[in-house]
């Protein structure tokens, strides 16, 4: 942005142009004016969280917007997601503490690129049914009440305000990472499960956790790259190795304390797990 620095001499008498130092002096003043205009321009654009033809707030300014708008920015959150969530802060707050809102808050984290299918499930206190909340990668929300319940995590039905989030990461930007357990022999350096960084996992969990109601508990966050798993309409089947495709009161422990067999579908990765209730 060097405009006035060049044009200022046009306003001076022609004879000034022959005075070398005067020309430099005029340019210095012009450059200072240009700097002032640039500051004005940046000041104006610092109010814009989304990129536009008028510029956009610098990342450091986004932190101020985040504080004012009640939107937490996460260490591994892409700038696209930050800008999107900040620009939609009213809508996000409007549904905060609802299961739909929790998914709406978490989904932009996977920008840029394809957004993941997400589900949240919780069981009713009487154990007779459970409710599945689905938020598609296209942003379509639906809920399904399942009679009889196909989600009994650990048999503790009285703890009715617990819920679980499932993120189907297939096709998203984190799909390249290994999101299932390896052979269990090692944890790779600084990584969990050989794929995602610990900070990434902490951030994904926090995106749900921070947007929940005060009266509920996020009991688990599950990643999978298989969109056919844990569908609302399904029913559990038992694998010959002992694990089940849905919880039937047995997922509180990873290993069944009675049989010594695994309980959970190995195609699911629990990145947050409070275990037995």
């Amino acid at each position: 942005m060097s405009v006035f620095q060049q044009t200022i001499k046009a306003y001076a008498p022609p004879s000034w142009g022959f005075v070398r130092n005067l020309g430099k002096l005029l340019e210095s003043v012009g450059a200072t004016f240009d700097g002032a205009m640039e500051r004005m321009y940046l000041s104006r654009s610092s109010g814009l969280v989304q990129t536009s033809s008028f510029g956009a707030a610098e990342p450091v300014a986004l932190a101020y917007h985040a504080r004012d708008r009640g939107i937490r920015i996460y260490p591994t959150e892409p700038i696209d997601s930050q800008r999107y969530r900040l620009s939609r802060f009213r809508q996000l707050h409007q549904r905060r503490a609802t299961h739909r809102g929790e998914m709406e808050n978490a989904q932009p984290y996977f920008l840029p690129g394809a957004l993941p299918l997400m589900r949240i499930v919780h069981q009713r206190g009487n154990g007779a049914s459970c409710v599945w909340h689905t938020f598609t990668s296209e942003g379509v929300y639906s809920s399904d009440q399942k009679f009889p319940s196909n989600w009994d995590f650990d048999g503790v039905r009285a703890k009715w305000s617990r819920w679980w989030a499932i993120v189907y990461v297939s096709g998203t930007r984190i799909d390249g990472g290994q999101t299932t357990y390896g052979d269990g022999s090692v944890y790779n350096g600084g990584q969990v499960y050989g794929g995602l960084s610990q900070q990434t996992i902490a951030d994904i969990v926090s995106l749900f956790e921070d947007w929940k109601s005060a009266h509920s508990t996020l009991w688990g966050v599950i990643l999978t790259d298989d969109n056919t798993l844990l569908s609302p309409a399904g029913t559990s089947t038992t694998d010959p190795d002992g694990w089940t495709t849905y919880p039937i009161g047995n997922w509180g422990y990873v290993i069944d304390p009675n049989t010594g067999l695994p309980t959970r579908d190995p195609r699911l990765t629990f990145i947050h797990d409070l275990g037995q209730g």
Partner: protein, 431 residues
Amino acid sequence: MPTFEELYTKATAAEIKASILAIADAAQLRVTSWIFGDPSERWIEIVARALDAFTSTIQAQYVRSWFLDLATDPGDEGDLSEDQTPRAGWLSALGESWYGTIRRGQTLATGTLSLTNDDDGSATIYPMEFTFQSSVVQSDGGYPTYRNSPDPTVYTNIDGSLTIAPGATVEIPIVAEQMGSYASAQPGQITVVVTSGSGLFSCTNSSPVIGEEREPADDYRERCRTAADQQSPGGPGNAYRRAATTALDGSPLQRHDGSGSVGITRTYVSTSSSLGTVTCYFADDDGAADAVDVASANANIEGEVLGEITEPIGVVPDCVTYAGGPAIETTIHVAGTCKIKARSGVTTTIVKNAIVAGLTAAFAEFEIGGFDQVAGAGVVYTVDLEGIVKASYAGIYDVSLSSPGGASTAIAFGNVAVLDSVAGDWTVTIT
């Protein structure tokens, strides 16, 4: 390109001039050897001053205007207005326009006074005719004064006066002559009739007379930030925090008994529950919130009409079990020694008072449950207290605390740290 911090920091004329000279210097113009008063030097001075006068403040205010943390009202720290008389400015405008939240201003204390006609004959009095005075001396050595304010329901005579029979007592409204909490009075403190039209009178106030200071800027900003969560029907934690301090219309929540604004500045909201319960604890600047504050906050949170709270918000979702109460006070005795180098104006008394003031201000900010909370219970670190003492007065060094002992003091779930420290707890050595 300037940094964000540079954008919201007002550039001075000297800095602008230095910038011009730096550019000129980079262009190999020998600007440092100019003679003061030389036309070229003067032109640069003029340009710098013109930019300072016409663009610097506007530009700095421009960027500040977007953000709660950077916006200020006149009288707030960092405000750029020439007239610093406390009043609504850009921060109040921003908060009201974007967050629907109203900053509490400084108010004149108002209340009711019992005025007794001690004369043998009837007395006829007019609004604003009397001056009353508190019997309690204030920190500046003065006594707050009050006038009998107009009220057509009290002054019912045809000429706007009120007749008081001999020996009779009437309740009349009064308003302070000094702004803010200076003129707040507890029951029985306003007992002096300074001037009256005629006759012999005595007076007392049976209920508090409350005047309030302007809401601290940071408290107001925090209330603004909770505004968005008021929209959610799902019961996020911030919705409880909002309702503990703010009425439906965005103004400060009023105490249900009409004795001013709720003083709650800190609210703990339980973060998780498997059984659908939410527990809140409330504290004000100096410890646990009082019973009226707690009842007022609970009414607004639960959506129950109570006294002055006629339009409660109600943020507790169906099926949720809610309980809210005062925080439990955990008193921390803070005492110790420190040193400071001798310089003009430094006395041990000044330093001791500054230490206590610094600690008092810091304790008012400590969250319920303390720092590094696990399941709502945390600590107050002793090393942090030493830091607060050190920062309370410029030049303090070698701070050593004799109390509290240990590296930290545990703050249990629902507890709030309360300071126990007076000037006599400190040994200050001037070296």
